[in-house]
Amino acid sequence: MAELDKTDGSMDATPNVTEVVSVGAVDETAAVAAIEAPVERGEPILQVRNLVKHFPLSQGILFKRQVGAVKAVDGVSFDLYQGETLGIVGESGCGKSTVARLLMALETATSGEVFYKGQDITRLSGRALKAVRRNIQMVFQDPYTSLNPRMTVGDIIGEPFDIHPEVAPKGDRRAKVQELLDVVGLNPEYINRYPHQFSGGQRQRIGIARGLALNPEIIICDEPVSALDVSVQAQVINLMEKLQDEFNLSYVFIAHDLSIVRHISDRVGVMYLGKMAEIGTDAEIYDHPTHPYTQALLSAVPVPDPEARERGERIILAGDVPSPANPPSGCRFRTRCWKAQDKCSTEMPLLAVPERFKGSDSPAAHESACHFAEEKDIVGAAS
């Protein structure tokens, strides 16, 4: 993992971006050209601005009418820098998987933008979108359902070449697939086998090989190891780190296992109910969290160290995550927060460096969406 400029995380730096949008109708050829241009290491490669995804709730059989919306993602902004790993953590229903699908343009965003090299991919279609897809790929959570059980491994890993024939000429494909199998640590002779003949960890390697086939620049990993056995997780994580160095990849690494996220990420964002609660470098988030939700999350994670249960204060949150169909007003976390005051129910806290830490170079000076952001001594996970 190369050293990145980790303090340069300010959200308002969106150069060139506004100009492209103001042009209006995107010229497809220009878009494709822009997409194929290289990005310097450490420069933002993906810029997410105010991303919103509401899933309408409808009633009726033949004539559906909307009765509400599940606010899965509700205004999320972050940058992904070339060559880095951005971890996104949060509990179920926080919208992290929806963010992944939005970044992949698998869902249409309700509003907001995802800029990939200055192109808003949420509005792309046709040839330009296909060009983007070559460069942003995905690794799925469940290796048992992410591979078509009726296709051979060779067909699965070779499918990207069928869709993008320009990447590999027909005659080369078999060799390419075998090379990819080798890269992810599988025997190239397995090319004619079917997915059910492999174990979970091996299947996940196949999924990674498929993601790598088109030489993408960004890989979105949605819980890539959480379905695997503990002893196999480490193998897959190591593989992913190796591939990142080898192919100069940028990862968005979505997971709920905080210690793995810390291990692999350069920066970490914490999501709660469709919003980003806090974002910063791994040390800032894990060692100096200022958002109460991050603090509670870190302290709730069982630490694989029996001594830990005797020391330090442990925050146990009351209640469950509220429904994203009907989120609390103001701060989303206020219903479970021990610090909540009247202000929290009326005023939505913005994701920004808290006033009290502004200008300070303490690690607590990172973006946190809390009116009362402050550090707190907790039993930290993975520390």
Partner: protein, 352 residues
């Protein structure tokens, strides 16, 4: 305990068995599944025991046999294809595998209760939770509907479900995951069992909710002085609640230890590998330690020690001889109570 009327016709807890017997003891248990591809040996001679008030964590990956053992204890194995060719499951000294169906049924459900990972599929979706909770009292204690409902509310309050009175008529899908798991716990507690087997009770839950549920389980265990068998793959959860640990691999126990000892000084290379593969702060940016290879195929367990193909310490003896679970001692020979390892080279592993 206020919930249950002691005059109800539950047999006296100590009837039959000798007084010094363990609450539950599993002896040399074997379970196999007959499949199209051959015989899958899921459990191959497991021994463990648990006493009142004690928490035994059974740690293992999928296919290690940890859940199958629990199912054998609860008598919910699908037989066939499952089969128990050998072994004893002693509840207070009585072998549940040889007793009559009637006796066994009395123990299971009333004396031993189980909590499953997936609360939603373990609850009947068409009956209200109040009805399902009350059913235990109606069936086992012959209470009236009204009395049973009151008991159900009491139980729901006991597991800290807010507004229990209002929610007693709600259906399982109206509760959140954490609340459903609480209802499962309430159900398991209803008849005041001596032993609870919890099979990955918090795996499906979010971390912040996980902590609540584990806390509740611990609290209730202490209050009722129950034995608890916690089946999990999560080293963090184990460290949090267990008193002693049994690590399983390929249907065998490979290491037993009190919780602090295990994390400090593992005596089996598999345990060591598991602990080493947890990402640690000082390893950031480095390669994680990874146990090489794949979990074993139960149809074709490697000869000798099942872990030998993946073990960094393996030598010839490991490929031929199955290591027995032997007591582990200090370098000077002094005893380490409760510790055992099924490794030919446990000395090198723990002291090396």
């Amino acid at each position: 305990m206020t919930i249950i009327d002691k005059t109800a016709d539950i047999p006296a807890p100590r009837s039959g068995g000798p007084d010094d017997a363990r609450l539950l003891e599993v002896r040399d248990l074997h379970v196999e599944f007959h499949t199209r591809d051959g015989v899958a040996k899921a459990v191959n001679g497991v021994n463990y025991s648990v006493d009142s008030g004690e928490t035994l964590a059974v740690l293992g990956e999928s296919g290690s046999g940890k859940s199958v053992t629990a199912q054998a204890i609860m008598g919910i194995l699908d037989m066939p294809p499952g089969k128990i060719p050998q072994g004893q499951i002693l509840y207070r000294g009585q072998d549940m595998l040889t007793m009559s169906n009637e006796e066994r049924r009395k123990i299971r459900g009333q004396k031993i209760a189980m909590i499953f990972q997936d609360a939603l599929s373990s609850l009947n979706p068409v009956l209200s939770v109040g009805y399902q909770l009350g059913e235990m009292f109606r069936v086992h204690q012959g209470l009236s509907r009204k009395q049973a409902k009151l008991k159900a509310i009491e139980l729901m309050e006991r597991v800290k479900i807010p507004a229990a009175k209002q929610r007693v008529g709600d259906y399982p899908h109206q509760f959140s995951g954490g609340m459903r798991q609480r209802i499962m716990i309430a159900m398991a507690l209803a008849l005041e069992p001596d032993l609870i087997i919890a099979d990955e009770p918090t795996t499906a839950l979010d971390v912040t909710v996980q902590a609540q549920v584990m806390d509740l389980l611990k609290e209730l265990q202490t209050e009722f002085n129950m034995g608890l068998i916690l089946i999990t793959h999560d080293l963090g959860v184990v460290a949090d609640v267990a008193d002693k640990i049994a690590v399983m691999y390929a249907g065998r126990i490979v290491e037993t230890a009190p919780v602090h000892e295990l994390y400090k000084r593992p005596a089996h290379p598999y345990t060591r590998g598991l602990l080493d593969s947890i990402p640690r702060l000082d390893q950031k940016g480095q390669e994680l330690y990874a146990i090489k290879g794949l979990p074993p195929n139960l149809l074709k367990i490697p000869s000798g020690c099942a872990f030998n193909p993946r073990c960094p310490k393996a030598e010839d003896i490991c490929r031929t001889e199955i290591p027995a679970l032997v007591p582990v001692s200090e370098q000077d020979g002094s005893e380490l109570p409760g510790r055992g390892s099924a490794c030919h080279f446990w000395k090198e592993t723990i002291h090396g």
